[in-house]
């Protein structure tokens, strides 16, 4: 079944582009059929439902969907752990 991942940042220009690409690569490598929806934080709500939200900015709201920070894709610190958490949600 196709999984939908919302990837969001402040402007949907820079950091979410990086994070979205990483999620696509990760899913491809693990045989997960994924649809990416790259939006601004303020547009998350209107793009639900989704299986997972990945953001590179802080989000305090609970959208009722697993939310994982994609920050490690930018800083390079803790990438493996983040990838494992994403896989756990999408394969679980």
């Amino acid at each position: 079944m196709k999984k939908k991942v919302i990837v969001a940042c402040g402007g949907a220009v820079a950091t979410s582009t990086i994070a979205a690409n990483k999620v696509v690569e990760l899913c491809k490598k693990n045989g997960i059929d994924v649809e990416i929806c790259q939006v601004r934080i303020s547009e998350i709500q209107s793009n639900l439902p989704a299986d997972l939200i990945v953001t590179t900015s802080k989000v305090k709201r609970d959208f009722g969907v697993p939310l994982i920070t994609g920050m490690p894709f930018i800083s390079g610190m803790g990438v493996e752990k983040t990838e494992a958490s994403i896989l756990k949600v999408l394969q679980g």
Partner: protein, 160 residues
């Protein structure tokens, strides 16, 4: 590649600033003065940084990648680089109040159509590869001239 598009006039080794607002006024102001960004750019950087901070702690090296929505940028995507003598306090990306002392700023003036996603992926990935290379970051801190900074980035990009 990025190094080919870097402009010595938009690279500032030995910069000094007391706050990120000052960083934005200096570096963003230079981008606007050179015609790459609109008069709204600096204010947009400040506004965005408050809401969505761009400081990064890369294994102890403080880096920031301030940028704005495309509306504030003219037709060409350009990158300005500033290396600060002393750390400037930025809030870390993805946090509310965790700060990081930043000495290396890559200011991205990203051009494009509003609502267009996924553009500039190649350039952005190169920037990310650069900021994740702490050996390169250390060399950037030691660089004395714009030409030296461009050379360091050229050498890095040739390995990508």
């Amino acid at each position: 590649m990025i190094w080919e598009t870097l402009k010595p006039a938009l690279i500032f080794p030995g910069a000094e600033a007391a706050s990120y607002e000052e960083v934005f006024q200096q570096v963003g102001g230079a981008l606007t003065a050179a015609g790459y960004t609109k008069s709204t750019y600096v204010e947009a950087l400040i506004e965005r940084e408050r809401e969505y901070p761009t400081g990064l702690d890369v294994d102890g090296w403080g880096v920031a990648i301030p940028h704005t929505p495309v509306e504030h940028v003219n037709s060409e995507t350009v990158i300005a680089i500033a290396i600060f003598k002393n750390p400037v306090e930025f809030v870390q990306m993805g946090t509310d109040d965790e700060t990081v002392g930043v000495r290396i700023v890559f200011m991205l003036a990203i051009a494009g159509k509003p609502g267009e996603h996924g553009a500039h992926l190649d350039e952005l990935q190169r920037i990310i590869a650069i900021i994740q290379d702490t050996g390169l970051l250390q060399n950037l801190l030691n660089a004395q001239s714009a030409e030296e900074i461009i050379k360091l980035i050229e050498e890095k990009e040739k390995t990508l």
